[in-house]
């Protein structure tokens, strides 16, 4: 019974078209491209405000050399937030539940921060592997541990996003099924379950935005680390 609930994450195809392609391309119709005119529509102003404030927030602690990452991280935030939020609608497919997509985003971006750090300041980048003030005897052990923690970052980044969204969708489906099945048997319990479902959906909305934000924030933190 449990396995069939995972079927919602199979990359669906309809008439030979993989629907993940639609799920990746269509959300951007909700973001009109701004024209050079100064007074924009309400939607455009809201989106511009969001991008502006978000970029300012993320890049304030990063020294100016790192600001060339602004487009990348802003696009990433918009990308992830839209995909996550739209996936909460009924009958939609959330591409960010696919481990391939999240790892495909996490690994290259993390690797870029590491490589840039190694190129600009190799000594300091390697020096991050050993925290200050460690006792001499612990040095080899700690270097191994820090290396492992460095390499686990992209894995954690990708899997965190995948797992959070997958778990959320799975829970929604489970509780919805429970409420539906309970309706003829124990209506009171069914109504309680429906309330839980409602609250869970609100949580999922929050999680959708938060997870996207965490992804981008951690990347900016890795960037900060490497450039300092």
């Amino acid at each position: 019974m449990m396995l069939s609930f995972f079927d919602q994450f199979m990359s669906p195809t309809y008439l030979g078209i993989p629907l993940i392609a639609l799920a990746l391309v269509l959300p951007w119709t909700l973001y009109p491209t701004p024209t050079p005119r100064w007074l924009n529509s309400r939607l455009l102003t809201l989106q511009g405000w969001f991008i502006n404030r978000f970029t300012q927030q993320i890049f304030m602690p990063i020294n100016p050399g790192g600001h060339k990452w602004a487009v990348m991280l802003a696009s990433l935030m918009v990308f992830l937030t839209s995909l996550n939020m739209l996936g909460l609608l009924p009958y939609t497919f959330t591409p960010t539940t696919q481990l391939s997509l999240n790892m495909g985003l996490a690994v290259p971006l993390w690797l870029a921060t590491v490589i840039i750090g190694m190129r600009n300041q190799p000594t300091a980048a390697l020096g991050h592997l050993l925290p200050e003030g460690t006792p001499v005897l612990l040095i080899p052990v700690l270097i191994i541990i820090e290396t492992i923690s460095l390499f686990i970052r992209p894995l954690a980044l990708g899997v965190r996003l995948t797992a959070n969204l997958t778990a959320g969708h799975l829970l929604i489906q489970l509780i919805a099924t429970a409420a539906f099945v309970l309706l003829p048997l124990m209506p009171t319990v069914a109504i309680l379950t429906a309330t839980v479902l409602f609250l869970l959906t609100l949580l999922e909305v929050a999680v959708a935005m938060i997870q996207a934000y965490v992804f981008v924030l951690l990347l900016s933190l890795y960037l900060q680390e490497k450039r300092l």
Binding site: F9, P18, L24, P34, Q47, N52, T55, F79, G104
Partner: protein, 55 residues
């Protein structure tokens, strides 16, 4: 878990990066902002209503 099926992995990777590199930055870069981003001052500006164009 169907996500672990490696068959569409490369296609999804390529496709998502194509979307991520072409469509989105173009839309984001087209936003132009009038003021430099600065930290907000102590006093809050009183917002005045203005007419939004309807479309």
């Amino acid at each position: 878990m169907p996500q672990l099926n490696p068959a569409p992995w490369f296609a999804i990777l390529v496709f998502s990066w194509v979307v991520f590199l072409t469509i989105i930055p173009q839309k984001i870069l087209a936003h132009n902002f009038n003021n430099e981003p600065t930290t907000m001052g102590a006093e809050k500006a009183k917002p005045e209503p203005w007419n939004w164009p309807w479309y």
